[in-house]
Assembly symmetry: C2
Homo-oligomer: 272 residues x 2
């Protein structure tokens, strides 16, 4: 396996450049060391970056990949004096897009992730809502929810809800399905009038057993038998209520969120 | 202001393509409608996408921007029959990167955001930790925290902590500074031994007043005088304890997180 370092160099947070780091997963034959260098907005900081590039080259035995968003043309040209494989988001995207739109791009630092961004307040409001409506914490305000996730305890409802809120500004409540619901054989009464925005999560018994065992090793709650029983009952309950669900066993919160958004057909189109 | 639609078309979640949507903020003169089309992995779905592209063109009076990650060359070529401005992450990034690395990229769908990704479990563990250590909820396990945020109530600790965990896999606890601490004039005792990983947040009194008023309008807690007093005392307390802090008033959680990571010098370098 070869080694390479990937630098994300930005005059702002480096988050947009860093997001492209995900594309490195397409090359499992290379072991990447990822280094973020945010707020690289002076020639002195460019020099530090160049030093880091040189050092990584020597350590890895190959030149680094540099993914960069630098608005200032002077800084941009300076960093390119180094020997690296450059992916320059201004050259590649922003400048050509400006030609397409017949508009000059803003080149100031930190534009992409400022609080002035189009959906920032909406996202923060959604995060607050979601944290206040985690794990069936309260029934008040459910009419405001855009999605309500249900499923057995520890099947992934919370991280998925938080991701939906943080990433997409979706107000996502979540409700655990618990023994009380299983005995009654129906969803919690408070959810009946919200059926249209409920989405279910399920999980394989073996995986749930493992996850719960980390919390409460050896408990009845974590036992494989109980996990099997809870999941079978929860799936029945969701089936009877006509709720769509997805299996979280081998899906990331990113994948689950994309599935949920598509299903709910909410927020896949938003005004920017 | 001109109108354009930006499509994010992917055979996976569309999250990497969508991240580039942030670059559209560089063009405030255009009003973008953003449409995500994840799981576009068949020719039938490509046809639906092409229909949407045509419709958007007519509605906007200009051709859409299409940012795409499609591993399958057949699907890639099919979508390009449409009239749009294409940013093809395979053509632009992945294929040339393969040349640089002398490796063929994996082209299967959903590679970037699978649970197999390099840091997925670490991130989910951090999210759990962070939610369990929100708002000074517990003192147990603080030695595991990689960052502990402190600041007055409602200054942005929780969303910043959650972002640090979800995005960077950083275990971020947070502690409110409350009247009890102000009277004593020192940090909560439990934090004394963790000074090296504490980072402070502060906020402008006018902004805090507005935020708190949304929660408890007209209360002493929300009054401008009390906000002024709390902030001044909290800043004094942090100054005396030698804690670095940042002002959250006009910074996004992305910006705050980047500042915190740089300061703490944690997790800016991670193995992928």
């Amino acid at each position: 396996m070869i080694k390479r370092t990937a630098f994300f160099i930005s005059d702002g947070t480096g988050i947009t450049a860093g997001a492209l780091g995900k594309l490195l997963e397409h090359f499992p034959g290379t072991q990447f060391t990822q280094v973020r260098l945010p707020f690289t907005n002076t020639l002195d900081k460019i020099k530090l970056a160049q030093h880091a590039i040189l050092q990584a080259t020597q350590e890895d035995g190959g030149r680094p990949i540099v993914i960069m968003t630098l608005g200032d043309i002077v800084l941009r040209n300076a960093i390119k004096q180094s020997n690296a494989y450059f992916i320059d988001l201004f050259n590649t995207f922003i400048d050509p897009l400006g030609v397409e739109l017949s508009q000059n791009p803003l080149t100031g630092a930190g534009i992409a992730h400022s609080v002035m961004g189009s959906s920032y307040n909406e996202r923060m409001e959604a995060v607050n809502f979601t944290l206040n409506h985690d794990d069936g914490m309260t029934n008040s305000g459910l009419e405001e929810a855009q999605v309500i996730l249900v499923g057995v305890s520890r099947c992934g409802k919370t991280p998925t809800s938080v991701y939906l809120a943080m990433q997409f500004g979706v107000k996502a409540a979540n409700y655990p399905l618990i023994p009380e619901d299983f005995e009654r054989g129906t969803l919690p009464a408070v959810l009946h009038k919200h059926l249209d925005k409920i989405f279910g999560l399920t999980i394989k018994p073996e995986r749930l057993h493992a996850v719960r065992n980390e919390r409460r090793a050896g408990s009845f709650y974590a036992s494989l038998d109980n996990c099997r029983q809870e999941i079978a009952t929860a799936e029945n309950l969701m089936r009877n209520a006509g709720i769509t669900w997805a299996d979280s066993t081998s899906r990331s919160v990113e994948e689950l969120s994309a599935i949920i958004l598509e299903k709910i057909r909410y927020a896949t189109t938003k005004k920017a």
